[in-house]
């Protein structure tokens, strides 16, 4: 019973709950990006690279804009708080822009040149790893990490902010609330707007869409670029969490996001569920390290690491639930073929 009590305690600790939310946000944003891209019929393995480039761009822009405010001492007193806030949010915007630019490469290669979407994604990811390290060296003099940047902080709510409810509900960076806003918006855009209908049409049956005058290329560009903006936001969030850029800092999150999107059956709501599940598995593992019971402590972290991947494999193999991908996913559209 002691064991169960320990587990219960860990489960409901502020640490686990808030940690789960924090860890899920970058996954969620990237997975939403994946939903838009894949609903339009373009496989987006490039999510990983998009996030990485966005993370670097965020750090670069924030550093450049807040540097005078911070002064020469990192983390020193800020001369101008307004300038600081402006710099941090500009960094987020820069991250999204970098995400869109990276996605643009993927779109040009896969939609315009109609090349293989998976290979393109692999190429973009490789490019992101190389270019971020290269540029990190160019601007910060080290390939492995950047100087720290100021992070966007949660709102100050006084005593209420320290209470259980306060921490669980309001203890996050404003980016977290932005992410949930984006989630709702994504659902509405996908299922309640004409744009969403056309996007789905292009991913299901591009020829049908084409014959009705919907431009397949334009919709797919929209899907891929939107995914760039969303995954870019996810990348920006990553840097605001650790307050610096480190080499290959996405560490496979793009792929986990892809897995979450599949597990969530290509819907925003489903993606949220899957991201929360994956984030919880990860956070729970951390929490177990500090558990009082030695049995709980001894569970190797590698097993919880595997959960997202194993679940995705099982789902794709049809052993757990059934996932139905957009019918034209991965197929370049040839307008002139019969």
């Amino acid at each position: 019973m002691n064991l169960l009590a320990d587990l219960w305690h860990i489960l409901w600790s502020v640490e686990t709950l808030t940690g789960t939310i924090r860890l899920s946000i970058p996954l969620l944003l990237a997975a939403l990006g994946g939903v838009f891209s894949e609903r339009s019929g373009v496989v987006n393995i490039a999510l990983e690279g998009i996030m990485l480039n966005a993370a670097f761009a965020t750090v670069l822009a924030t550093h450049a804009l807040t540097h005078p405010a911070v002064g020469e001492v990192p983390g020193g007193p800020f001369a101008d708080p307004d300038l600081l806030v402006f710099g941090m949010w500009s960094g987020v915007a820069a991250g999204m822009a970098a995400g869109v630019l990276t996605a643009l490469i993927h779109a040009v290669v896969t939609v315009t040149a109609k090349a293989d979407q998976i290979v393109s994604g692999v190429g973009v990811n490789l490019l992101a790893i190389g270019s971020t390290q290269f540029l990190c060296f160019k601007f910060f003099g080290s390939t492995s990490n950047s100087p720290t940047i100021p992070a966007i902080r949660p709102w100050d709510l006084g005593d209420f902010g320290q209470s259980f409810l306060g921490q669980v509900l309001f203890g996050y960076s404003p980016l977290v609330y932005l992410a949930f806003g984006v989630l709702a918006l994504a659902h509405v855009v996908l299922f309640r707007t004409t744009f969403g209908l056309r996007l789905q049409a292009v991913g299901e049956h591009p020829r049908a869409a084409d014959t009705l005058g919907v431009s397949v290329g334009r919709m797919r560009y929209a899907g891929v670029l939107l995914s760039g903006a969303l995954a870019g936001l996810g990348g920006a969030y990553l840097t605001s969490d650790v307050a610096q850029f480190t080499q290959n800092m996405t560490a496979g999150r793009g792929y986990i996001a892809l897995a979450a999107m599949i597990l969530g059956k290509w819907t925003p709501g489903g993606a949220l569920g899957a991201c929360l599940l994956f984030a919880f598995a990860q956070k729970f593992q951390f929490a177990l390290r500090g558990a009082p019971s030695p049995l709980l402590q001894s569970i190797p972290s590698q097993f919880t690491d595997m959960i997202p991947y194993l679940l995705t494999i099982l789902v794709l193999a049809g052993l757990v639930g059934r996932a139905r991908a957009p019918a034209a996913l991965g197929k370049p559209y040839e307008a002139s073929e019969a």
């Binding site: 004409t194 299901e204 020829r207 869409a209 005058g213 002139s336």
Partner: protein, 506 residues
């Protein structure tokens, strides 16, 4: 449309085609498979650009040459293969591309459904706007397609082979719909290769043959025979000279065979027949009545749910490993002698990027004569290819050329040459002359009769009645997955077969 020319790699699909359609008429565009009808319609609809010529709609040139412009000009197309999105609802499918919106961005489902209901009442096309398309029958899907076109305010409707997938009652309903459309002042362009339909429902007919216009007539002033003559370009079906059949023992016995088809629906229902050595058994029927699935079961490409198939007295259907289904094994077929000329040579019959020599052994590539202990015997493969190429006059006579580079007729000759090289007891020939030039047709027909004379049993599946009537000794007609009648050639004529093929004999 004036002077339309369209060239594809290796084919001239349309050569200097003129087509004009008057407002308010039902105009048929007919021609055999590969006559260029579909290409012409794609050009008209803006899906493909012509290499020469102009398209004018209600006097105005189509510009830019896109489907969007064609839709704006009042053109609507119901494609042969439906352009529907199965997971979406009927209403969503209909409004896609011209959605009613609230605040400019939000899809207004209520208005979409209301407009759809109004349309469907006006033209008596009843459908449930909220149903998902994946749950509809084929006839209902076609109605959705017509509604899509009407929703866009089309004044001219193009229907590409609309009856190919319909049951006879659905065809009758379609006729009623077409007449209702005409009464509302719409123009209908009706593409078909079935003469009975053309005679039944159209006002004027344009006949295409090998990419060119072969004639234009008023339906009232013409006859089936005249249209057939225009389509085929010969006064009558060319008669193949053949001695009377000398049927022998039973080569293939099919009993109580059933199988599922597309969408897991029954496609073959309790089919039984015997094919005798030394005769050609024709299987006639409108396409999509179970012939394809029947042949796939016989060749081990599809599982049967019940029944038995005996080839040379031996049962070839064996229970599957996991499911309660029956399947023929390729090894048994090879050993007992079954050859198969598939209906779609590009999809099934050939690996287009393989050389002619490699294609000539597909299915027999494991045989001793072509393989050493580890390596394939290149010399034997080439010798075999050279012999086949010479015997079937395949051109160019080069075993190294990829099959892709050959003309349709020569590709089909590869398939026939390969299947006859098996020296099969039973040959299943499916649409053996589809999309093949006249010279190759004659050579393939001659081959089939020669094989019959050598005591082979040939199962000829063809959608072309003319081909069945000129080759077959007995004719079985399939309708709705069943064999609805078997006739001796002497008792068969087009009318009698036509009745059976449309289920009229029930």
């Amino acid at each position: 449309m004036r002077g339309i020319t369209k060239v594809f790699p290796r084919v001239v699909a349309n050569r200097d085609v003129d087509l004009s359609v008057e407002p308010g008429e039902i105009h048929a565009l007919i021609g055999e498979n590969g006559a260029g009808k579909s290409t012409l319609m794609k050009i008209l609809y803006g899906l493909q650009a012509p290499d020469a010529g102009t398209v004018r709609l209600f006097g105005a040139p189509l510009h830019p040459h896109t489907p969007a412009a064609a839709i704006r000009a009042g053109l609507g197309m119901v494609h042969q293969h439906f352009m529907l999105l199965p997971p979406l609802t009927v209403a969503e499918n209909v409004v896609l591309g011209q959605e009613p919106a609230r605040l400019g961005v939000f899809l207004d489902r209520d208005r979409a459904e209301a407009e759809l209901l109004a349309l469907s009442e006006r033209y008596r096309l009843s459908v449930d706007p909220r149903a998902r398309v994946e749950s509809l029958s084929v006839g209902q899907e076609q109605r959705v397609e017509i509604l899509k076109v009407l929703y866009r305010g089309a004044r001219v409707l193009i229907l590409d082979e609309p009856t190919a997938v319909l049951t006879p009652p659905e065809v009758e309903e379609l006729y009623a719909i077409l007449r209702a459309l005409k009464a509302e002042g719409k123009t209908v362009l009706f593409i078909s290769h079935k003469l009975a339909e053309v005679m039944a429902v159209t006002d004027r007919v344009t006949v295409m043959r090998r990419g060119e216009v072969a004639g234009r007539v008023n339906t009232r002033d013409t006859s089936r025979e005249e249209l057939a003559r225009l389509m085929v370009g010969r006064p009558v079906l060319f008669a193949v000279e053949k001695p009377p059949a000398r049927p022998g023992a039973i080569a293939l016995r099919v009993q109580g065979l059933s199988a599922l088809g597309h969408r897991e629906l029954p496609a073959v229902r309790d089919v039984s027949f015997d094919a005798l050595a030394g005769e050609i058994l024709g299987i006639a029927g409108v396409e999509g009545n179970g012939q394809t699935e029947l042949i796939e079961v016989l060749t081990g490409l599809r599982e049967a749910t019940a029944g038995s198939v005996e080839l040379a007295g031996q049962e070839i259907l064996r229970p599957g490993r996991f499911r309660k289904t029956l399947r023929a094994r390729p090894n048994d077929l090879l050993r007992l002698g079954m050859g198969h000329v598939p209906e779609d040579r590009h999809k099934r019959g050939l690996v287009l990027d393989y050389s002619v020599a490699d294609n000539l052994v597909l299915g027999r590539h494991r045989l001793r004569e072509f393989n050493g202990f580890l390596l394939r015997r290149g010399g034997a493969l080439l010798a075999h290819a050279r012999e086949r190429i010479a015997s079937f006059d395949i051109r160019p006579p080069d075993p190294h050329v990829p099959a892709r580079a050959l003309s349709g007729g020569n590709q089909q000759k590869i398939v026939v040459a390969r299947e006859l090289a098996r020296d099969p007891r039973v040959l299943l020939a499916c649409q053996p002359t589809r999309g093949v030039d006249i010279g190759a047709i004659e050579s393939i027909h001659r081959r089939l009769i020669e094989e019959r004379e050598r005591g082979k049993s040939i199962l000829l599946v063809s959608a072309e009645l003319s081909e069945i009537l000129s080759l077959a000794d007995r004719i079985a007609v399939m309708y709705g997955g069943r064999i609805v009648g078997t006739l001796d050639r002497i008792d068969a004529n087009e009318e009698r077969l036509g009745q059976l093929m449309t289920g009229g004999a029930h």
